[in-house]
């Protein structure tokens, strides 16, 4: 039994290594054209500790345009073309409640992979998942430093998460049954790695500006394909 497990580990490591060597990458930027929308100021008077965390006032993160003209918080993922089964990673994805906002606001996770929800604030939050394909939850996190672990049972683009105490708090989680996803940060770039050779449909999702899809085909041998998506000011 023990030997068998060892063999299993070895075999998994071996195939993972192989996938890395022969797999391709789809990378690129999410460009934003036009004038960046003025971010709505969030009034955090409802909770003194939230207000304290933002001495200069908090801005809505609904549409954040980076200084290099790219769009933040875009979820980019392979929508079609993936075959095979991908086991959920054991390591959890972190989802923090910090300064009465979610960090990150947009993230991806695999079905069955643990989502670690953390409350870094000296106030209470509750996390309400509005998933439609996984059972919803609404859990209080009254203590600073408190952690919760949750998993999603079915793919869903996107699961909205909100805090019912602080109505401005919203986060979006892309749940997929494969690991081919990425979310843009402060530089607006994304990178989907370890893709087996094949033809794919890649979708970019943004909470305000909607979705866009593009087709891409990648070969083996560390092929790197660039994709660029472009959103326009509404």
């Amino acid at each position: 039994m023990k030997n068998r497990q060892k063999l299993g580990v070895f075999f998994t490591a071996f195939t993972a290594f192989q996938v890395n060597v022969y797999a391709a990458t789809v990378t690129g930027k999410i460009a934003f054209e036009g004038r960046a929308p003025a971010a709505e100021t969030i009034k955090m008077d409802a909770d003194a500790s939230c207000k304290l965390a933002h001495p200069d006032g908090a801005k809505s993160e609904e549409a954040v345009v980076n200084s290099n003209g790219t769009l933040k918080n875009v979820f980019v993922y392979v929508k079609e073309g993936v075959s095979g089964k991908f086991d959920a990673p054991k390591e959890s994805v972190k989802f923090d409640q910090h300064g009465c906002q979610y960090t990150p606001r947009v993230l991806g996770i695999q079905v069955g992979q643990p989502l670690e929800i953390l409350n870094s604030d000296p106030t209470l939050h509750n996390v309400h998942s509005l998933a439609t394909k996984t059972q919803q939850f609404n859990l209080g996190m009254p203590i600073q430093g408190m952690k919760l672990k949750k998993t999603f049972t079915a793919p869903e683009i996107m699961v909205k998460v909100k805090c019912e105490v602080h109505p401005w708090m919203a986060g979006y989680i892309g749940v997929l049954d494969h690991p081919f996803f990425s979310a843009t940060g402060g530089d607006g770039s994304f990178s989907i790695n370890n893709l087996p050779p094949g033809e794919y449909v890649v979708e970019a999702w943004h909470e305000k500006y909607g979705t866009q899809t593009q087709k891409v085909s990648v070969a083996a041998d560390g092929d790197v394909k660039e994709l660029s998506f472009q959103y326009k000011a509404a």
């Binding site: 500790s49 209470l124 509750n126 609404n138 009254p142 105490v165 109505p167």
Partner: protein, 292 residues
């Protein structure tokens, strides 16, 4: 004889109206799930009053007070009231309060399912009407006022019963609009039109008949409320369903939707009372039968 119960019912009606407004604020600020557990709040009696919890927990506290006050009312009725059917109404109010608390809990546990929210809204206003009707049933007018003969009596009663029926339907339609994001909006508008027309007919009938003088103030109040309601409804429609939603409810939106819902509760009770009073006070003229 029922002075105590009468005054007490008035007091409970007032507190209940405050509760309806507090409940309305919970819905309008979307704070219904800000406290994820029930009946305790974050495992305590007094959670930190921040954000949505301010609305939800205040609602729970007032609800608790109304619950206790209702059982006191039932006690008063059992002790002081002679009429069995009035005692039954007190028991019904107590039952409603318990059911209402259970619905409130279900809403929290099952994450705000629309049917539960609608039922909670309708039962809340029904409870309010019930308590208000007890004010009438324990009043001096109800006990001693002589019957008024009017040739309009029977037609007015029919008109009021129809209107009350429409207002009851409107309570359901309105709460569906509120809790299902604009569903049944057309029905809600149609009922609003029907109610407004009927109230206009009632107003004219009462004003033109000198015998119906005791009902004049009452119908004027009802007319004023319905007028106000049409405008607040229009405002609520514009703010919640026409202009683009903000990331979270604006103060203007919160105030107008809560007002619209609470005025609705008062219209329901006012219509019910006017109908009950007409049934109690009016009789057909004796010499000739009603010409309708």
């Amino acid at each position: 004889m029922n002075r105590l119960v009468h005054s007490y019912s008035k007091f409970l009606s007032a507190v209940t109206l405050v509760l309806i407004i507090a409940g309305g604020l919970v819905t309008s600020t979307e704070s219904g799930l800000s406290v994820p557990d029930w009946p305790l709040s974050y495992g305590q009696f007094f959670p930190p009053m921040v954000g949505g919890i301010r609305f939800e927990h205040t609602h729970r506290l007032i609800a608790g007070i109304v619950g206790i006050l209702t059982f006191v009312l039932l006690g008063l009725l059992l002790k002081n009231e002679g009429r069995g059917w009035v005692k039954c109404l007190g028991a019904a109010a107590a039952l409603a309060v318990v059911l209402q608390a259970i619905l409130g809990g279900l809403t929290v546990i099952y994450l705000l399912p629309t049917p539960v929210s609608v039922a909670h809204a309708c039962l809340g206003q029904t409870f309010f009407s019930l308590v208000v009707s007890l004010v009438l049933f324990t009043s001096k007018e109800w006990a001693t006022a002589p019957k008024i003969a009017s040739e309009n009596s029977e037609s007015l009663k029919r008109l009021l019963a129809t209107t009350f029926f429409f207002v009851c339907l409107q309570l359901i339609a309105g709460s569906v609009v509120r809790h299902a994001h604009g569903r049944t909006l057309n029905l809600h508008a149609l009922l609003a039109f029907l109610i407004a027309i009927h109230v206009l007919f009632i107003l004219v009938r009462i004003l033109r008949d000198a015998d119906l003088q005791p009902l004049v103030n009452h119908v004027l109040l009802l007319t004023g409320l319905v007028t106000l309601q049409v405008f607040s409804g229009g405002g609520a429609y514009l703010l919640t369903l026409v202009i683009e939603k903000a990331a979270y409810p604006r103060t203007s939106e919160v105030l107008i939707t809560t007002a619209h819902q609470s005025i609705g509760a008062v219209i329901l009770a006012t219509t019910l009372l006017l109908m009950l009073r007409s049934f109690r006070l009016l009789k057909p003229t004796e010499l000739r039968t009603s010409h309708e």
